[in-house]
């Protein structure tokens, strides 16, 4: 680099003492920023989970005085479902899967000491934190939080007389826009770091899969979010300045928003999916002690998925009055995109085949990801076919389908990653027994929540309705709603086991040592937790990341940084 910074004036030692503020609050260290993102994401997950608790209680027991919340009014119900969706995708899945794991893993797995733009990284987190605060503040303004669904379709979202949240809807939009800015900055950082800062000797196909996946996800995000940023500007002007971009009475077009939203919204599914797929790849190779089956195929498949994901968005709009010929095209592309995803799942199963499998907690989560995401993928085929979708559109079938994709991604993928990298993050092991209790206590209730919702959806139960007992044909199925809500209470209860395990292990867990899982990738060659600067001498790479059970070796793993 042609940088003329030859002079390094006397300043504090890079690895020396840092004050509390520069170490934890205004840090530029990628690991600290990763943890900031993770804890903020976890806090938002608790808030999003609490919202789900409140509106599920209302659905199962209409008119109930919900403990800890009180009576849920119709307007509050709308605000709760809207913000639950927005929070879980934009403030939980994205910060934890991409930003937290990306920040933590990319420099460590590539063998460098930090991101290429550490200050930009810090700015990215600060903007993200600001966006979270702005979002939560929308609940405390006049009219309350925005209640027009997380997709924010106009005219409901653009006109205060329809949404009844004159301030809430604009604050919500600003929060989403700020969040996008944070992830654009972060994404540029991730991609550039992966392109330029790899350890000496690390070739393209020596990069661990999770890094590739986060990089592809960041590129997808950068290439898809633009139209929605433009759309958000237009919607904001419709709300506050009286323009009519989305108002059909005055020459606008509400369908335009749907195109702009879903042009981003569908790639966004893959933005959060791919990191979870990458985390799974790391974990199953380690705990099956086997090389990843078809590394290059997975990589090309991920790129292919990314390209295809830009051509499927209108399958969200089959009943929005789009041209039926266009619906045919989007049906075909949507069904096509299930092929690469199915292929990845088969590749993972092939990786497990003949492996020497240990059912440690991270491995359980990784296998749970494959199993549950499969159901999500298969039910998506019904919705991708325009004929079936016309019946199922906007029912609980759709809702159950995308929870079967997002729960594996955002929750199972996160727990897989957290339990796997916890020893590296905090230098201590998590408790295996509590980990397994938490796993089963989450995965069984999860299925009990959403399988009934498939039935309800197939029976014609629409989404975003405050009280189904007012509909005689739906009131008879109230018992399924109660089953789902009780299962959700059980699942939320088991998260306390995780929180206890997490915070207890952070201080009291068994010391982990450098490489507790006997894994190959570079992060396991650093101290646990890695100090500021990660390694005293940055490592050099000699081979690919998945050389497990090599026949010429005595040990069943062959770390990337070991010369031979």
């Amino acid at each position: 680099m042609a940088e003329s910074v030859a002079t390094a004036p006397a300043h504090d030692d890079h690895h020396g003492e840092q004050s509390f503020w520069s170490k934890y609050v205004f840090s530029t260290d990628h690991k600290v920023i990763a943890l900031q993102y993770m804890f903020t994401g976890m806090a938002m997950a608790l808030i999003g989970g609490f919202m789900a608790y409140a509106f599920r209680m209302q659905l199962a027991f209409p008119g109930m005085d919900v403990p800890g919340f009180g009576l849920v009014s119709p307007a509050q119900y709308n605000a709760l479902i809207t913000n639950h969706g927005a929070i879980m995708i934009f403030w939980v899945a994205m910060p934890v899967l991409i930003a937290a794991f990306g920040n933590f893993c990319i420099p460590l797995m590539l063998g460098c000491d930090d991101m290429v733009f550490p200050k930009l990284n810090r700015l990215s987190y600060q903007i993200f934190l600001l966006s979270s605060i702005v979002l939560l503040s929308s609940f405390f303004v006049e009219g309350g939080g925005f209640g027009g669904a997380w997709t924010s379709y106009p005219p409901l979202s653009s006109k205060a007389e329809y949404s009844l949240t004159p301030l809430g809807s604009s604050i919500w939009l600003v929060a989403v826009a700020l969040e996008f800015v944070a992830f654009l900055l972060g994404g540029i950082n991730f991609v550039t770091t992966a392109m330029n800062s790899r350890a000496p000797g690390m070739k393209m196909y020596d990069i661990p899969m999770v890094v590739w996946m986060i990089v592809i996800a960041s590129i997808l995000f950068m290439a898809s979010v633009g139209p929605l940023i433009a759309g958000a500007v237009m919607l904001f002007m419709d709300q506050q300045l009286g323009t009519a971009f989305f108002d059909p009475d005055r020459g606008g077009d509400p369908i335009l928003w749907q195109h702009l939203f879903w042009f981003f919204g569908h790639p966004e599914v893959y933005v959060v999916l791919l990191p979870a797929v990458g985390i799974t790849a790391e974990i199953i190779t380690v705990f099956a002690r086997k090389k990843l089956f078809a590394y290059k195929t997975v990589l090309y498949t991920a790129f292919g998925t990314g390209v295809l994901s830009f051509t499927v968005w209108a399958h969200h709009q089959f009943i929005a009055g789009i041209d039926p010929r266009m619906a045919h095209v989007f049906t075909v592309t949507t069904l096509l995109i299930s092929i690469p995803i199915a292929e990845m799942m088969f590749v993972y199963i092939a990786t497990l085949y003949g492996g020497s499998i240990t059912f440690a907690t991270p491995m359980l989560w990784a296998l749970g990801f494959i199993a549950t995401f499969l159901i999500g993928g298969v039910t998506g085929i019904f919705l991708g076919a325009s004929g079936a979708d016309i019946y199922l559109h906007d029912t609980y079938f759709v809702l159950a389908h995308f929870h079967y994709t997002f729960y594996p991604i955002a929750i199972i993928g996160t727990f897989a990653g957290v339990t796997y990298w916890f020893p590296k993050m905090f230098g201590r092991m998590m408790d295996e027994r509590l980990g397994k209790i938490h796993f089963w206590g989450s995965i069984i209730p999860f299925n009990l929540i959403f399988i009934p919702l498939f039935f309800l959806g197939a029976a014609g139960q629409h989404r975003r309705i405050y009280d189904f007992t007012n509909f005689p044909e739906l009131a008879a199925m109230q018992h399924w709603r109660v089953v789902a809500t009780v299962a959700m209470l059980v699942m939320l209860g088991f998260q306390l086991v995780f929180l206890y395990n997490f915070f207890r292990s952070m201080f009291r867990g068994e010391k982990a040592g450098k490489n507790p899982w006997k894994a190959n990738t570079l992060e396991w060659s650093a101290e646990s937790p890695p100090p500021h600067g990660n390694w005293p001498v940055l490592p050099t790479v000699y081979r690919g990341p998945y050389e497990y059970s090599h026949p010429d070796r005595d040990e069943d793993y062959w770390p990337q940084h070991v010369p031979n």
Binding site: T192, P227, L241, R250
Partner: protein, 189 residues
């Protein structure tokens, strides 16, 4: 001390250059989304032709000339920076900043006359697009000019000369956006 990561170059290109190109990629889709929306609307509404007839082509053409010239000085600045002549590079960058200022001033005059003639943001969806697209572009011009002032101040002291090229790339992008906006808003009538 800078992290070692910032000094590596595994892809063979300077990190800053890579990052600027990724910024441009994400900006392309922002303007792409806005302009695609505009074009779709325009094709669906014949009445917009009549409204577009009121835009001032001559002012638009003058601003196109100003922006293209400012891009030329940005390139000359890059050339000077490559030769290691920071003072000369800074001088050219200041000329580009001058171009940006002229552009914004002309824009302000143009908008004032339009608004006085009764064509405001809310007059019709065509005018909404006119002000939104040109306004978003003008914000980029202003942001680019502010960054350029910082880069020029450094370059004058022969510091961070590689940044002259980076801000140049961004400036060309801003220029190209205008090359799309000019025919769409001012010529197609």
């Amino acid at each position: 001390m800078r992290p070692i990561a910032t000094t590596r170059s595994a892809a063979g290109l300077p990190t800053g250059l890579l990052a600027v190109w990724w910024v441009v990629v994400s900006e392309i889709v922002i303007f792409g989304g806005l302009l695609a929306s505009y074009i779709m609307h325009r094709l669906a509404h014949d009445a917009w032709t009549e409204q577009a007839a009121h835009t001032n082509t001559w002012i638009g053409a003058f601003n196109t000339f100003v922006l293209l010239t400012s891009s030329l000085t940005a390139v000359l600045g890059h050339q000077a920076a490559e030769q290691g002549n920071g003072r000369k590079a800074a001088r050219f960058l200041w000329m580009t900043v001058g171009g940006a200022t002229t552009f914004v001033a002309v824009k302000a005059f143009e908008w004032t006359t339009e608004i006085q003639a009764g064509y405001t943001l809310t007059s019709s969806t065509f005018w909404s697009f006119y002000y939104t697209a040109a306004g978003l572009h003008a914000l980029h011009v202003i942001a680019g000019a502010i960054i350029m002032i910082f880069v020029a101040t450094d370059a004058a002291k022969n510091r961070e000369l590689h940044r002259v090229e980076l801000i140049g790339i961004y400036w060309h992008f801003v220029d190209i956006v205008w090359i799309f906006l000019f025919p769409l808003l001012y010529i197609a009538k």
